[in-house]
Symmetry: C2
Subunit: 222 residues, 2 copies
Amino acid sequence: MDDMDEVKIIEIKKSVFADNEKDADALRDELKRKGVYLLNLMSAPGSGKTSTLIQLLNRIKDKVRVAVMEADIDSDVDAVKIKEKTGVPSIQLHTGGMCHLDAEMTRQGLDNLNLDEVDLVVLENVGNLVCPAEFDTGATCNAMILSVSEGDDKPLKYPLMFTVCDLVIINKMDVVPYFDFDLERCKKYIHLRNSQAQIIPISAKTGFGLDHLADWLLKQLP
Amino acid sequence: MDDMDEVKIIEIKKSVFADNEKDADALRDELKRKGVYLLNLMSAPGSGKTSTLIQLLNRIKDKVRVAVMEADIDSDVDAVKIKEKTGVPSIQLHTGGMCHLDAEMTRQGLDNLNLDEVDLVVLENVGNLVCPAEFDTGATCNAMILSVSEGDDKPLKYPLMFTVCDLVIINKMDVVPYFDFDLERCKKYIHLRNSQAQIIPISAKTGFGLDHLADWLLKQLP
């Protein structure tokens, strides 16, 4: 497990700032001045954030300078996997049990990247559909992955997450035949929460939809 | 949608008690004196808590007096579904955005049931693998559902949840052929967190393992 040693692990400290919204706006402005696009990627546990990222990074890494921050309560399996499968610089943020990241915690991660040398930073947030939606990380874009196996009713049950996301990626489209999942119904529920949300169905397993997702993301960059 | 009106919806208030552990122990003692077994059922979003409950309730409802409390951030689809599909008394707890339940919040729900007339109360907690694990609800037994589609590595990534659970139900066994999920590896990871954890694989869709789960639960009751 030599690769484990090569991934930098940052122990994230609890924020001391009281006004996260103000702090998040300041971080967003700072990133804009530096020409860095920060994508905050959220989802429930097991919806395929890391495997989607691997597919996505391999499609964009030659077109844009990208780095990844993997937030996890404890393990470092994700950052190791990203580095192994894509070669993209990846650091691990340990939240020490905390269920979300806010702007100050995101900044602690960004301090470990050289922002002059990246155009895009992807933050893989803690696997949780509740708390991460409540805290603005200062990201340029909020995105989330809903997987087919979780069910098409999730926008009804986790309203805030779907409200704050500019992009909803629907993953595991390859297993639609084995689940009671109606894509059109799901899209309708998502648009009830956020009529502007971009919805992109994919399969990180087969690669379906990944070119579309990569194109969409590249077009957002300044 | 007449059924919607028949389900009692309780708006849960934030707790004022500072010492949740003490409060949880007090609630557990009180329930023991009354002969009520409280099962706290946790999982990630979309792992199949409600469909598992429907299968389970239909197997035990003639053998034991049971009631259900469905905690959700917002919607009431689960309590309606439970009532329709099983006839078991079910109330909905609205957490108003809160990501977990603690003992006092659980008590607010129990106050709406007649505890003299039930042997078993199932609390379906908020879909979240992080926060609910941190708060003792006062339950007699903590159980969680991990679904095959979430991946067998979840005990590594959400350690506390697997540590606090006496029972881990592995759901969606019917889709094992379509996912990279190794049951033996998963069992090993679970037992790393909690060597005493009972592990029961099921499929809420096909009914596989549900008789075993029902038998196990009935044996726990006083």
